[in-house]
């Protein structure tokens, strides 16, 4: 230990210097001796001394003054003042200036050595303490950065938000210029985000990287951090964008969780030889935090897509149950009527036989309609509905369905008001005719005979709004969205009419949406219902 400890002795008494040098050398210290303050200061500039022994009365400068100068530049040095017995006053002053001790001349060597040894011991403790404090501070900084990153990434379960928050926090906490993240996706490493790159450089960062070659690929596949101290001498091409941006040091860490590599975090600065093992340790910790957040987000995504699949599955089951119900109902009438005619135990009269046949006929039609609607429905759901959109005048579309509408509304008053000024719309006339027929059919179904059904058209900006209004039983507000759902059947329809398929409005919505329009209902119970839809002006 002592071999490395250096002591500077300053005294104008050369004999004294020689004696002290020998004594100290004997004890294993490295000793330099000088006889003036000027020499002392220049020696101190050249190298580090653990201790200085200063005579208080020097030829060029007062020893106390020299002490002050030394303490200014070397606050940790152990200074021991040598005084004549007449200058105790100066000695006290020197203690105030930071000297460790003072000894009266003539100096007792034993005494000097023990003072030096105590002084150096104190210096050791001081330096050690300072190192510990620094270590502690560094740990604190690391912990704070990790905490900050961890908080930032745990705010969200959205993958992109996590990556962005992490990159921003890394830049903020460590003061790094550039950071980016690659994640393992479909057997490749995909760039998920970057921070600090100018738009010019950002354009040249590889969007994906192989998972077992290149700089990024190696960090990922080996699961180990990598430091590049000088980019210029780095042979791999995947970090070319950093070189061209003038960045000189790079550090990359794998995003590890439970021994599994999930991606790579890379950082860079424009200084060479920037990254130390301490930085890497911190970056590894950050990488772990990001990996945890990414895994959480992935698990959440998996769980929610599993839930969505389950919901879809139960909707499908319900749909099938509904279809089965809707098919069985008319089939029951057909089968029952035909079967009645086949029973050997009863002979029905002509009139009844005819009624059975009419039932069979009607419900066969219902079945056909249902099958048609189901096909239409499945086409709409597969986005496979052919909509042949051409400019058509509303009046033209109305004309093509007028006969049908009049036959449906035979017991109602049908009012059609289409202004001559109505602009042509971009529409498939046949499909829109189906929508109108469907809406009028519903209006008839849910209103009393001899009430009025109005069909109107008006222009609103770049759209034409068509509406079908009745004076029927109306729809409570909570059902205004529901009526457009598949198989929704309105209650309280007149019993004299046959049930619909429950698909009509759902199909109308599909057709209108295929026209980039909207369909909606305004109604209050008992006050009639007004169904409207919009079509773009041609």
């Amino acid at each position: 230990m002592k071999e490395n400890e250096t002591i500077l002795v300053v005294d104008d008494d050369r004999d004294f210097l020689e004696i002290i040098r020998r004594i100290l050398k004997l004890k294993g210290y490295q000793v330099d001796t000088v006889s003036s303050a000027e020499e002392a200061l220049s020696r101190l500039k050249e190298r580090f001394y653990n201790a200085a022994i200063l005579d208080i009365s020097l030829p060029d400068v007062d020893g106390t003054e020299l002490l002050s100068k030394i303490m200014e530049t070397h606050p940790d040095i152990i200074a021991i003042m040598l005084t004549g017995h007449s200058s105790v006053q100066n000695a006290v002053q020197s203690l105030n200036c930071g000297a460790f001790a003072y000894l009266e001349k003539p100096v007792d060597p034993e005494n000097l050595l023990s003072v030096i040894s105590r002084g150096l011991e104190r210096q050791h403790l001081l330096l050690e303490n300072r190192q510990l404090m620094e270590e502690l501070e560094r740990h604190n900084r690391v912990a704070n950065t990790l905490l900050s990153v961890s908080q930032a990434v745990s705010q969200s379960l959205d993958l992109q938000q996590i990556i962005d928050a992490a990159l921003e926090r890394v830049a903020e906490c460590i003061g790094l210029e550039i950071s980016f993240v690659y994640l393992h996706r479909n057997d490749k490493l995909m760039l998920m985000g970057h921070h600090g790159l100018s738009s010019r450089i950002a354009g040249s960062i590889p969007k994906e990287s192989p998972k077992d070659s290149g700089t990024v690929g190696h960090i990922f596949s080996l699961g180990k951090p990598l430091i590049i101290e000088e980019m210029a001498s780095h042979p791999e091409h995947d970090l070319e964008f950093l070189k061209s941006g003038g960045y000189r040091s790079f550090a990359g860490v794998p995003l590890m969780i439970l021994g599994e590599s999930m991606g790579v975090l890379g950082v860079a600065t424009s200084f060479a030889h920037y990254f130390s093992p301490v930085n890497v340790e911190l970056l590894t910790g950050i990488g772990r935090e990001i990996a945890i957040a990414v895994r959480n987000a992935e698990l959440y995504e998996e769980a929610s897509s599993a839930k969505a699949l389950r919901e879809l599955d139960s909707m499908r089951t319900e749909f099938l149950a509904n279809v089965s119900h809707e098919l069985r109902t008319p089939l029951a009438v057909i089968k029952g009527s035909a079967n009645s005619l086949l029973q050997p135990d009863v002979i029905f009269d002509e009139q009844t036989r005819r009624e059975f046949l009419v039932s069979i006929d009607k419900d066969a039609d219902t079945l056909t309609r249902l099958v048609d609607d189901l096909l239409m429905m499945s086409r709409l759901e597969a986005d496979a509905l052919q909509v042949n959109r051409k400019p058509h005048r509303i009046a033209e579309i109305m004309d093509s369905v007028k006969d049908r509408l009049e036959s449906i509304t035979i017991k109602h008053h049908l009012h059609i008001s289409i202004p001559d000024s109505s602009p042509p719309v971009l529409a498939d006339d046949i499909r829109i005719g189906e929508v109108l027929t469907n809406l009028v059919d519903n209006a008839v179904k849910f209103s009393d005979d001899n009430t009025t059904i109005r069909i109107e058209a008006r222009r609103l900006g770049k759209e034409v709004i068509m509406s079908v209004a009745d004076e029927g039983i109306g729809i409570p507000p909570e059902l205004h969205d529901k009526v457009f759902e598949r198989f929704f059947q309105g209650n309280g329809h007149k019993t004299s009419r046959r049930k619909g398929t429950g698909l009509g409005l759902s199909i109308c919505r599909g057709i209108i949406e295929a026209h980039e329009g909207k369909i909606w209902v305004e109604s209050r119970p008992g006050k009639g219902a007004k169904f409207s839809f919009s079509l773009p002006v041609a």
């Binding site: 069985r328 009645s340 029973q343 029905f348 019993t495």
Partner: protein
């Protein structure tokens, strides 16, 4: 014999017309209702011998009608359903329906089921030779079709009573599932084990002090049931 009166409850007018034409042609008197509420009112007003009930109806559905009627009446109920779902079937039977038919169905099949239901309702003249059955607190008076457990009157639906009577008359034998189904319901039911399971459950809930540890109707696993009479 008086004309039997049958109520048909269905919201589909074509089904109502079809069934009433067929039932009238076979000598039944018919009343109809188009929803659950109407049917409940009608059942309370008019006496009916049997109800044919559609499961899916507006306002009060078939399951609920069945449950409410069972609160005060043991009139036989045949459920018609357009859903071929085994769960629905068990649910309806548990709630007290006597039979369950999936649409579409044949007329002959429906008529056979109506006959079965009426057979359960029972003609006192076909009561067993013995006048009563006594075992461990349970007494069945065959002539009066009356069942008591520890002196308390037990109300059974006709089908429940038929099953119990059959078990009691044959109390010295183990009755297999298909034997019970054929003799209580009819030949065409011989594979409908659900019916038997549900009705034995219903009987146990009404008769047994502890339905989980039955003292009357014993299950012979994989074979059938047995009403213990031997102490």
């Amino acid at each position: 014999m008086d004309k039997k009166r049958i109520m048909i409850v269905d919201d589909d007018p074509a089904i109502l017309r079809l069934l009433s034409t067929n039932l009238k042609a076979r000598g039944y008197e018919v009343v109809t209702a188009t929803d659950g509420e109407e049917s409940l009112e009608a059942v309370q007003k008019d006496f009916v011998d049997l109800i044919i009930l559609d499961l899916m109806m507006p306002k009060v559905d078939g399951v609920e009608v069945c449950r409410r009627i069972r609160e005060w009446s043991d009139v036989p109920i045949i459920i018609l359903s357009a859903r071929g779902d085994e769960n629905d079937k068990v649910k309806c039977l548990e709630l007290g329906a006597d039979d369950y038919l999936t649409k579409p169905f044949g007329i002959a099949e429906l008529m056979a089921r109506i006959k079965t239901a009426f057979r359960h309702r029972g003609d006192p003249s076909v009561a067993p030779a013995q006048s009563s059955f006594n075992y461990n607190g349970m007494e069945i008076n065959f002539a009066k079709r009356r069942v008591t457990v520890d002196g308390k009157d037990i109300t059974l639906t006709p089908t429940e009573y038929s099953l119990l009577q059959h078990l009691a008359v044959n109390s010295d034998k183990v009755l297999t599932h298909s034997m019970l189904l054929q003799s209580v319901w009819g030949n065409e039911y011989s594979s409908e084990k659900e019916y038997l399971r549900v009705f034995v459950g219903r009987l146990r809930r009404k008769l047994e002090p502890d339905p989980k540890n039955p003292r009357y109707i014993q299950t012979i696993p994989g074979v059938g049931y047995h009403l213990s009479a031997v102490k």
